[in-house]
């Protein structure tokens, strides 16, 4: 017998009585305003929030990351120095200082943004870059994870992630360090104020 059939037959003869599958409610009564909640939790998770900058996105980026040499953009709003569409090998993003992407939606409860291969262009952009800037339409914030996991996007993307602030570790004496193996900072730029 193959290991597969062996395992399945052992599981079927384990003698467990079938138990029912419960319904999962949305738990969305009386939640705080989504944008406020998102900003609060994002800050707690080490991310930064920015309203649409008056001076324009490119000017803001120049002051925020004055030393950045390679800025890889996956959004039409910002040019960057490298277009992600020109990259095929994920490893080629090794020297990116700042990555710029646009989230499909966000989750207020956890301060997370949703990104997949469609938003990244090349997935490694979200992790090899030193810093990540995420554009977000402020009207695309879902109240909690129950709402989020009912989005068909999860079943359609090859790869997707709920990204919450920058990479972090507390593995040495519990000291919290933002910037573990992935990005060192994550800034969410709200585009809600735009008409």
């Amino acid at each position: 017998m193959s290991s597969r059939d062996d395992i399945l037959s052992k599981l079927r003869s384990a003698g467990r009585v079938p138990e029912p599958l419960p319904e999962v409610p949305l738990f969305d009564a009386g939640l705080p305003p989504a944008l406020d909640q998102f900003k609060t939790t994002l800050a707690r998770m080490g991310g930064q929030w920015l309203d649409t900058p008056a001076e324009g996105l490119d000017a803001w980026l120049g002051t925020r990351f004055p030393d950045a040499k390679v800025i890889c953009s996956a959004v039409p709003e910002m040019a960057g120095t490298l277009r992600v569409e020109t990259v095929t090998d994920p490893r080629a993003l090794e020297n990116v200082d700042v990555g710029i992407v646009r989230a499909r939606f966000a989750v207020a409860e956890t301060g997370s943004v949703w990104l997949s291969e469609a938003e990244y262009g090349v997935n490694s952009l979200g992790y090899l870059a030193q810093h990540l800037v995420v554009l977000l339409d402020a009207s695309a914030i879902l109240p909690n994870l129950h709402h989020a996991y009912r989005q068909p996007a999860f079943a359609e993307a090859r790869y997707c992630a709920l990204v919450t602030g920058p990479s972090a570790t507390a593995d040495i004496e519990g000291v919290l360090i933002r910037g573990a193996q992935g990005v060192r900072t994550l800034t969410v730029v709200g585009l809600g104020q735009r008409v």
Binding site: K10, E94, E109, A161, D171, E173, G174
Partner: protein, 470 residues
Amino acid sequence: MGKSNDIFSDKKVDHVKGSRQFIADEPHIAFHDKRLWTLRELRDKEAHGIAEWEQLRELASAIKSHTLTHLADYLEEFERNATANGVTVHWAKDAVEHNRIVHEILAARGVDTLVKSKSMLTEECNMRPYLEERGITVVETDLGERIQQLDDEPPSHIVVPAVHKLATDVAQTFADTIGTDRNNADPHYLAEGMRQDTRPYFIKAGAGMTGCNFAVAETGTVVTCTNEGNADLSGNVPPLYIASIGIEKLIPKMEHLGVFIRMLSRSALGSPITQYTSHFRAPRAGGESHFILVDNGRSDRLAMDDFWYSLKCIRCGACMNTCPVYRRSGGLSYGGVYAGPIGAIINPTFDLKKYSALPFASTLNGSCSNVCPVKINIHEQIYKWRQIVVEQGQVSFVKKESMKLAGKLLADPKRYRAWSSGAGKALASLPRAFLYNPFNAWGKQRELPEPPKQTFHQWYAANRKQENEA
């Protein structure tokens, strides 16, 4: 004790002896105790902030019960969907087969370097030495796990693998292995040193590997919950991706993730979610993905009427953080892949003789069961394992003799009353040296409570009896 391969020897684990080594070092145990209790407090704060917390625990437990009682069906559904997504699905009945499959995948593609994120399952399979003996460099890319790899120790905690170490220990290990300054124990400096050392491996590696927190049958998706970004680097940078999946990780639908993700990091670290919750469904364009479904004792456990519940575990570590025995003995003293209360009930299912001491590493206070997000009756299982250990004659001589004495005492009301009123008086008048000496295990690391002036029986006789008679 405590080196990586020791946990795979047949030698019986002596938890008391193992913990004695850890207890002997005051700064380490003081930090360990405090750090893990902090995690417990952070967990409480998060849990209390969610009105439906108890309802979520009920749901999580019920979803797991349903899935485990239909596990074969969901595994077939998962396999069908993953295959349709372009993933190659493998089945491994044990650790040996798992390691052989991983090696075959890597060898067939000429891969000589594997980057991986933390996976308790690959620890369980002792995969690293197997691959390294066959010429493959395996690089752990989670900071805590990398510290443990470079120090040749197994993880001492399932979420924070190096929690038993102080920064000064890490400074020594890193100085010896990756060349950081021996005299600089600043955690920021050490973490940065590890980041700089690890990055080139992501670029160089021919394959990346992760474990799996949840496997969604409906979509064939593998979900990982991590903080450092290393799982996403492992899964998205090299051309080949491998995920090892314990068969108990299945859940039916994507919407069920809402329940588990809301509780996992809150229970583990007291944060609302991990920095990255990542969903690997299909290989990226031009990439290749393999999922390995691993049994390694799980189907046997499902058939154990008293212990199949432990398969619900989502590896949050909350039971470890809250356990007074774990906090004061350290993970390595358990001598197995899994430590703490969950280790005390999982390890004996692998090897009862080897791990017969672990069910006794507990006060049975029940705190582990109270914090468990999937409501595993951990302390009751610990108690049941004790009965089995005793039935099978695996109890040590000292424990056996003192249990016999206690048995006689507790079975005889007269003797018990005479002993308990005497014990209280003795406790109040005994010199400290008598209580806090090396032969009294209960005097170590703790102060005994003030003895009551009366036993309950004496108090009852003096008060209630008169009332009843009145």
